[in-house]
Symmetry: C2
Subunit: 542 residues, 2 copies
């Protein structure tokens, strides 16, 4: 009962047959485990199985039922593999039957990876409603813009309603305030109907700081490694198999049960795994099996800060087999080229020569000394096609890392905005836009949270203030916990009919159309690209 | 001046020409650095160079001069790259010219790796004198025994005179009480004259707890990883290049300047490095360049607890290119087969079936669930020749990990000792003996230290007691700090003329000779080996 299979989810509550619920919980530290279903007089004890799993089958649970687990007769907790948290991170879980949705995308083929033109969006601020349903209303617009895939920032259940998504604590649960399971099913189906692929950002390197109850269940974390978020997720220490399976199941679930086309794995450099088989290899293998079974295509895209080709090399070359990776270095080189001050991580970038290097070699640092990292950094990435790299002139991080969250629109002239759009779109890589970029949205994209624990709220507020202490002269740090900070970060769709916003959208439309039509731009052959720099004129010839 | 080169050492004090000393220090945290030479009226300031290096040239330093470095005008410390600590770990360093020794081993070819029959010894307890010079007197005996290589437990300078060697704090300095640089030169030269190769055990995964002054010089350690010894050596964090070079220089020095034939790298699983190029790959590359330059052959042997073929795979298969690895699992399976209780790490081993698996597949755990590790463990190691694995029926760790440090001689019958010797010697792997094993030395090999810091002495004593708390019924834990514990661990050479010791030595001689002569044993072709188990009879047919 506790074996991983790619054909169906086998963690949490599932409904393998009508009126038949299967419960599988991994709680290796528990001496006793039971499930409490709301409205039922008594808790149902689970049977202990091998390797820390607890299981039961019952015809007494229905989709929609609320439940918790009770460990050792006293500790009551939501399900770490919960698909729905209707009352938030601290409330009970809700049993969900993912087979209930009537998909109409049977003929959806997914795009070849090289045809991806990505549009990154944050559900809460993309629309005034901040829901999956509201995204659907914008699909015609996105289609007319020409992008071929939306990339949704993380949606795993987080505290309350305001969060970028990287503080999620229920990796299997689509955020309730966004519309939950049903809203996401509906959105993906609608995207496919419009010919748009859906990329989902998932976080397998840490849990958020509030509402993470995994520690009550088992060693999800290990003290062997320290990450920016504290202890690392346990991918190679004692009991890691349960954790490895948890995240592998998670990847399979989104692709299989939600028809997600590709995953964007957040910050894989913070996934610490010295096992002979890296967890990313394991996920790759399972996703390959899934694709064999379903005939659908799925891509695994990583955010990596390591400049290590091993991650995107195929297994035949002892790589982890990831399909593509984000390329922050292209962004940094581009931004310095157009005038960004060489402070912080920009200090490593010289401008146009580095931009040229990124056009040609993908990685800017492939063995050179990095001043900010204080070490020789990176390795050369040869023979990997252009479709394995994703480039952008801004994204959620690069905007939100600024104290005032200014988008490019507030930093550069209209001409520079057009120049940067062109620089991304003619690259031999996959372009990614951040929502609103195409109309020069003037609103910021600020850092916002809605934690409920007072101490945590204050810690986040102070942390943000300290991070930008040297910039205080430039104004106050917006309060991450304030509702206003979140509201200010929303897109203003009514600008679309105004100038110069309208003109810029048309410019983006033209550029994207050009990229799709021109064979030299469409086929991402890095080897055929010649790059020359005229440094004095600050010009790159491609 | 601060570039790594394989042709000569370029850290610490060197003498590139007669009466010309070059000083290179890596101290990236210092604002000022000077060298104080004992007997000189003033300290000589060092010049700051790139990447944290400090350098000077002078004709005012001679081999034999004592010196320290003075950081920021106040902190006086010995040289982390010191070759000699005549007054111990807390005293000044001594300038050494390694070119002074008159080598006579120009024609020494080193053995092909498959001809290695290793004899592990601990310098302090191998002889009553406990010196390199005293080892030389036993070389004729070792030669007559038939072993082809001695493997010397670590000799990097440690506190006082009693230590296994894994508490070394000056990786470049041969322990003064053993005979220092000159003693080691003389020993290696003598070994080569007798046709014996020399393997040196080196520790690149931690520094000892007393006399480690590296922290005053720079970030040799990183808090990113936690090892059994605390913070990990910094191989991939900011400033790691200086640390990587330090250990790469160290490997090159032993091979080049001390004519060491092979290194045994201790516990590489505790070397944490997520760089695109692992530090072991980097050392491999540099050693390859050295071999090209000198025409000598050197081997890199690892102790690894990861069952990960990547370490011993060639670079062409994206491996780290290590020549061979120790195989504890063969030992554990063998010991359980002859009756060892399945406690502690032995709990994972079933006995004869696992021994058969190790004969056939090298790794016992190549993907199965391990009860002691509480995870699925290891990966299959195919296509790697037998000479890449080193097996033994006992070694310093397996003996010393016991509370009373009993060698096999105190645990098994004479017949079982012969059986185990045979089991090792007929394996398709490289055999290793632990000193005295061949005559069933009855003395234990206990854990001993001679730290001078009172708190540390007490901590080690308590730690050892706690480690064996469940065995207190079996007697008191020998005090690791007592001189007697060290003395008790010495070999009794006079037993060699007594029975049954003499008979066992002759048995080992015959076995080793047989292995050398018989083509099926000499050529380590794993593919030609058939293994059958008759479980009822507790018999393996090879």
């Amino acid at each position: 009962m506790h074996q991983l299979t790619n054909t169906r989810r086998s963690l949490g509550i599932t409904f393998p047959a009508k009126n038949r619920a299967e419960i599988v919980l991994w709680a290796p530290q528990a001496r006793h485990a039971a499930i409490k279903v709301y409205g039922h007089p008594t808790a149902l004890p689970l049977k202990s199985e091998e390797l820390g799993y607890w299981c039961a089958e019952t015809d007494d649970i229905r989709p929609g039922d609320l439940y918790t687990f009770i460990l050792d007769g006293e500790t009551e907790r939501p399900d770490p593999a919960s698909l729905s948290q209707p009352q938030g991170v601290h409330g009970p879980s809700e049993a969900v039957n993912t087979a209930h949705f009537d998909w109409t995308d049977q003929d959806w083929p997914n795009h070849p990876l090289e045809d991806y033109v990505l549009y990154e969006l944050h559900t809460g601020t993309f629309t005034s409603e901040g829901t999956f349903a509201a995204i659907e209303e914008k699909l015609d617009y996105l289609k007319s813009l020409g992008v071929t895939a939306i990339e949704i920032m993380p949606i795993a259940q987080f505290p309350e309603t305001r969060n970028w998504g990287y503080d999620g604590v229920f990796p299997f649960a689509a955020q309730n305030s966004y519309g939950g399971v049903e809203g996401l099913h509906h959105l993906v189906n609608a995207c496919h109907a419009k010919g748009l692929a859906v990329v989902l950002d998932v976080v397998y390197n840490h849990f958020g700081p509030e509402g993470n109850y995994t520690n009550d269940y088992g060693p999800y974390l290990t003290g062997k490694y320290c990450t920016p978020w504290g202890k690392a997720i346990n991918f190679d220490d004692a009991w890691c198999d349960g954790v490895r399976r948890f995240f592998t199941e998670n990847a399979l679930m989104w692709l299989r049960d939600f028809h997600i086309d590709a995953l964007r794995l957040d910050a894989v450099h913070a996934i610490k795994d010295f096992s002979p088989k890296h967890i990313l290899e394991e996920i790759r293998e399972q996703v390959d099996l899934l694709m064999e079974n379903t005939g659908r295509r799925h891509y695994l895209i990583i955010e990596s800060d390591l400049n290590d080709p091993r991650f995107i090399s195929p297994p035949s070359e002892h790589g982890y087999g990831m399909d593509a990776q984000w390329m922050d270095e292209f962004h940094h080189a581009l931004r310095v080229t157009v005038g960004e001050a060489r402070k912080g991580y920009y200090a490593d970038f010289t401008g146009i020569n580095h931009l040229a290097k990124s056009y040609k070699d993908a990685y800017v640092y492939d063995g050179q000394y990095s001043v900010t990292r204080e070490r020789y950094f990176g390795s050369s990435v040869e023979n990997r096609p252009g479709q394995q790299f994703i480039v952008f002139s801004q994204n959620h991080d690069q905007i939100g890392n600024r104290m005032l969250g200014e988008r490019s629109s507030q930093l550069y002239s209209f001409n520079i905005l057009k120049l940067m759009a062109g620089a991304v779109m003619v690259s031999p890589y996959l372009p990614l836009l951040f929502m609103g970029e195409e109309w020069a949205e003037p609103n910021p994209f600020l850092y916002f949270v809605s934690h409920t624990e007072t101490e945590l709220v204050e810690a986040v507020r102070q942390g943000r203030k300290e991070e930008f202490s040297e910039f205080h002269a430039e104004g106050d740090v917006p309060d991450p916990s304030a509702e206003a900070t979140f509201q200010q970060s929303k897109l203003q769709w009514d600008l679309l009919t105004e100038e110069p916003h309208q003109t810029l959208v048309q410019y983006y439309q033209t550029l994207i159309a050009l990229r799709k039509q021109h064979p030299a731009l469409r086929h991402l052959n890095r080897a055929n690209l010649d790059v020359s720099v005229l440094e004095k004129q600050q010009t790159i010839l491609l």
